[in-house]
């Protein structure tokens, strides 16, 4: 489809694996540029969901019958897949949650209750999503710990010198995102982790935005915890992952009580299951977890390097075209960026832009993107955010820019 593309991936073939893209919205071909909020689901994932609900549905673990066995195998196969996908040392270090938000909350509640105490410092950055702010605020309230914010520059990059100054023996935890959801900044997480480790601080990486774009290797990063969400990786909603280092997970108290997470229960006391099951109380999102495996297959079949090269090409192309639009102001101009463009256009409110683009079949996100402290720092109410996935094309960017141009002309 994209003749002018220089990378080697077959976009027409990729698009054919996303039937949802082949439709009209408001009478115009759908252009889906809201991938940072949630990416579309690849057909192999949808097929796996149908297979599960039509043929294999049963509750996992402890079942003696055939369907329970099939479901359990599928579920554990995805755990195995995640273990390879992020290169954890052990498969037991992979915990399924309902999303990145729950993964972070699990750490904040369980690890936080055991390891945080009064006066301890939690470092988070100015770039964080509310889901990597609020759980720490709650943990700080419960424990008397203090939150300190790592500042950023006007381009949306973490100020490493300021970070170094904030680090001390009081630092108990450093929690930062790998890629900023609002601005697309790719943070130097390896260096951030290394510096934190020198202070014996625990590290938590929110990789929700990174997972679809960047190859994640938790052993190479050397982080203690890392969280990601399936629905931003062409997979189903309601599935997230928490990676945690074995010794830490083992030392942490359970997050929720219920079935699955126990060894023995009596009214005199309960003993808990081993990791990862200790943190997986109740019936999980079985079918969705099973199907998530196919999303990771999809990403790795194309290859992270190819995806990143292609998305960078889209980003560069969009930046050049958008900069020609009168009144265009990019928000977040970091040197190292994922395929996210946040912007404002003089005289046009983001909500108006979002709605007028929707009429033209173009889906973008408008508002504060769950990063109000970042918006406060930038002294704006919100932005328009276009975020690209591997199935987007330069032709779509052309239509997007032409549509924006027309809207801008109407307002001027």
């Amino acid at each position: 489809m994209s003749a002018s593309t220089t990378t080697t991936i077959d976009i027409a073939k990729i698009r054919s694996e996303f039937p949802v893209l082949d439709q009209e919205v408001n009478g115009k071909p759908l252009i889906y540029f809201d991938n940072a909020a949630s990416s579309q689901t690849v057909k192999s994932v949808v097929d796996a969901l149908v297979q599960f609900y039509e043929k294999d549905h049963a509750n996992i673990h402890r079942g003696i019958h055939t369907l329970a066995e099939r479901s359990t195998k599928g579920f554990e196969a995805t755990r195995e897949r995640v273990h390879k996908f992020i290169n954890s040392a052990e498969v037991d270090e992979i915990i399924f949650t309902k999303g990145t938000t729950e993964s972070i909350n699990l750490v904040a509640q369980s690890w936080g209750s055991k390891f945080l105490s009064e006066g301890d410092e939690i470092l988070i950055s100015q770039l964080e999503h509310h889901s990597n702010i609020v759980p720490w605020q709650l943990a700080a309230e419960r424990t008397g710990a203090i939150i300190k914010v790592i500042p950023i520059n006007d381009k949306g990059e973490i100020l490493m010198d300021e970070y170094k100054k904030l680090l001390s023996s009081k630092t108990k935890l450093v929690a930062v995102n790998y890629v900023s959801n609002s601005l697309g900044t790719i943070n130097p997480v390896k260096e951030i982790i290394e510096l934190a480790m020198a202070q014996r601080a625990t590290t938590m990486i929110d990789a929700a935005q990174a997972a679809p774009h960047v190859k994640i290797d938790v052993q190479n990063l050397n982080c203690d915890f890392l969280a990601l969400s399936s629905h931003k990786m062409y997979g189903p909603t309601g599935v997230g992952v928490l990676y945690g280092r074995r010794d830490l997970l083992e030392s942490m108290p359970p997050y929720q009580g219920g079935g699955e997470m126990i060894k023995d229960v009596s009214f005199n006391g309960t003993t808990f299951n081993d990791i990862p099951y200790k943190f997986e109380a109740g019936t999980p999102n079985i079918g969705e977890v099973i199907a998530f495996k196919y999303a990771m297959d999809f990403i790795e079949n194309i290859g992270h390097e190819n995806i990143q090269a292609y998305e960078n090409e889209l980003l560069e192309y969009a930046n050049i075209k958008l900069s020609k639009i009168q009144g265009f102001t990019p928000i977040g101009t970091a040197e190292n960026k994922a395929s996210v463009i946040s912007f404002l256009i003089n005289n046009v409110h983001p909500y108006d832009l979002g709605q007028l683009l929707d009429v033209k079949g173009i889906a973008v996100r408008t508002g504060h993107h769950c990063t109000q402290p970042l918006m406060d720092f930038l002294e704006i109410d919100g932005t328009v955010r276009a975020s690209f996935a591997v199935y987007n094309t330069k032709e779509e960017i052309d239509v997007f820019c032409e549509s924006l141009q027309k809207i801008v002309e109407r307002f001027n």
């Binding site: 409110h349 909500y351 709605q355 007028l356 009429v359 033209k360």
Partner: protein, 143 residues
Amino acid sequence: MDLIKQRQEEIIEEFAMLDGDMEMTLDYIMELGAELAELPDEARIEDNIVKGCQSKVWLTAELDNDRVQFKADSNTAITKGLVSLLVRTLNQSAPQDVVNAEIYFPQQIGMDRFIGTQRSNGFAAMIKQMKMYALALTAKQES
């Protein structure tokens, strides 16, 4: 036909001419917003902001010869157009008539089709606020 009903019928007729075309409809709404009487700067205060709207909407009401005089503004063009429809419908009526008014034009023009759930909630909040103002003005009249 009472004034409020008559104005709603006018709106329904105007929108019918747009034939359900989303682009033209939004364009028309923004045009109507641009024609809205200007809200004085001193009225653009926190107290006059309608709660429950994602965009900022300022709304004021006062009595002029026993009729309610609404003024409004918004920081977004589409919302300004939407509030202008309400101002047009309810302006210059007796406060009690505003309180009792049945606002039916949004359903008739299929407004939920061209504004999302969030804006629909905001629109309901505007109507509620206008009725609250009118109720307060009724009390003022009685005293």
